[in-house]
Amino acid sequence: MRIMKFAAVLLGTSALLLPGLSPAQAAGGKKAAAAYGKPTARANPNVNRPKPSANAGHSAGNGRSAQNRQQANRPNKGKGHNNVVAGNTVVVNKPAGGGYYDNGRYHDRPDWDDDDDDFLEFVGKTAAVTAGVSVVAAVIGSVVEDKPDGCQPVNAYGQSYLYCNGTYYQQVSQGYQVVAPPQ
């Protein structure tokens, strides 16, 4: 019974999605796929992540595993990153290859088929972050409803964290709350 219901939902989704596809919807994969929700994973267009270049000040954190990411990007530990904990704000100097924080929300890297203007806005904002024009911050205590992309589970000092693009979160009833890095 559950299987039949599942199949029916799937067919209904396809029927909604395909015939009425307008050029505007087709312009962005995510918009066309609104019925499917938010992507949870993507194909890798490259086998290896690019090697950090020597002149990038925040180049750590290209490791694929939770352990690598945790150590490489852990604020105030080691060198090669500019993360700072100040007051109640974790200032995250944009994780390599990732998106940026604005107003407490994480903006993920767009896909190649996302809207051109959104894409250029993203490039402009990450360029601003890289150039030091902007301060990006994930405010401790702020809660996002949706699980950010690119999260790795991390256990430290008896607590469970989600480490997502340079910021630590813990699950709360309303969603995911930005917390101070475990240290």
Binding site: F6, A27, A33, R42, V47, N103, D114, G124, A128
Partner: protein, 253 residues
């Protein structure tokens, strides 16, 4: 009728927990020397070219809740003149992005949107691609083809690799190789008939996620491209508007 067929084909796990279904492991994990050598030969061949143009048709899957996958299709053309000139045209959906790199600056433009961003960049193409990823979140398909066999590139050595044999790809005779490394399986089909070993097809499977989304690409190579003086330098059209980096500043909260 279709519903019945679909229901029959749908694994029960798909509607419950999205955990990976682990089948039996490969009977052996071995990096065959000839497979590793082929990968390195490909990287060496690519780096030995002074200039090239490579066009690709690619597909990229995204995974949605319930492990449903949707595929986007696109195409790209890379024109490269080593060491420090590159132009990329990338189309997917109805978008079109261009990247010009002339050795001094990189311009990212979207011709349909009539806007562009200029950012400072210098050095070798491989370094510019790496910093574009770090600094601007730009990830270019194809860029890691150039890293195999280069000791300084820091690529992960595959944990297993096999030469699977020869096959025809269109009218070309190619050799099929498969590799696996943590989080990623990948396959390449190499044209080994000429002086250079060039990839004509590649499949990359993300095995970190239970739905295993794939990226696939077919490549066609031009080792003697016609490159004119303006190929690598962006020239804005009369209606094109620059985006100043300062204008794109964040709210700062």
């Amino acid at each position: 009728m279709l519903a019945v067929v679909l229901a029959a084909a749908m694994p029960v796990q798909a509607q419950t927990a999205p955990t990976a279904v682990q089948g039996p492991a490969l009977p052996q994990l071995r990096l065959e020397p000839e497979a590793e050598a082929a990968l390195n030969r490909m990287g060496t061949s690519l780096r030995a070219m002074k200039s090239f143009e490579v066009a690709s048709d690619f597909t990229a899957e995204r995974v949605y809740p319930g492990n449903h996958k949707l595929m986007s299709i696109g195409n790209s053309t890379f024109t490269v003149q080593f060491p420090d000139r590159m132009r990329v045209d990338m189309r997917s959906g109805l978008t079109h992005r261009r990247v010009h790199y002339d050795g001094q600056r990189m311009t990212v433009s979207a011709p349909n949107a009539g806007r562009y961003i200029v950012v400072p960049a210098s050095g070798k193409v491989a370094d510019v691609l790496a910093s574009a990823y770090e600094n601007y979140g730009l990830e270019f398909p194809l860029q890691d083809l150039f890293r195999w066999g280069d000791p300084s590139s820091g690529v992960t050595r595959p944990t297993a690799g096999y030469r699977l044999g020869e096959t025809m790809l269109g009218d070309r005779r190619v050799v099929h190789y498969a590799f696996t490394q943590p989080g990623v399986d990948f396959q390449v089909w190499l044209d080994e008939t000429g002086a250079q070993t060039l990839p004509l097809k590649m499949v990359i499977t993300n095995i970190e996620h239970p739905a295993q989304p794939q990226f696939t690409a077919r490549y066609s190579w031009n080792q003697a491209p016609a490159i004119d003086a303006g190929t690598f330098t962006f020239t804005p059209g009369p209606a094109d508007k620059p985006i100043a980096i300062g204008d794109a500043a964040l709210s700062g909260k």
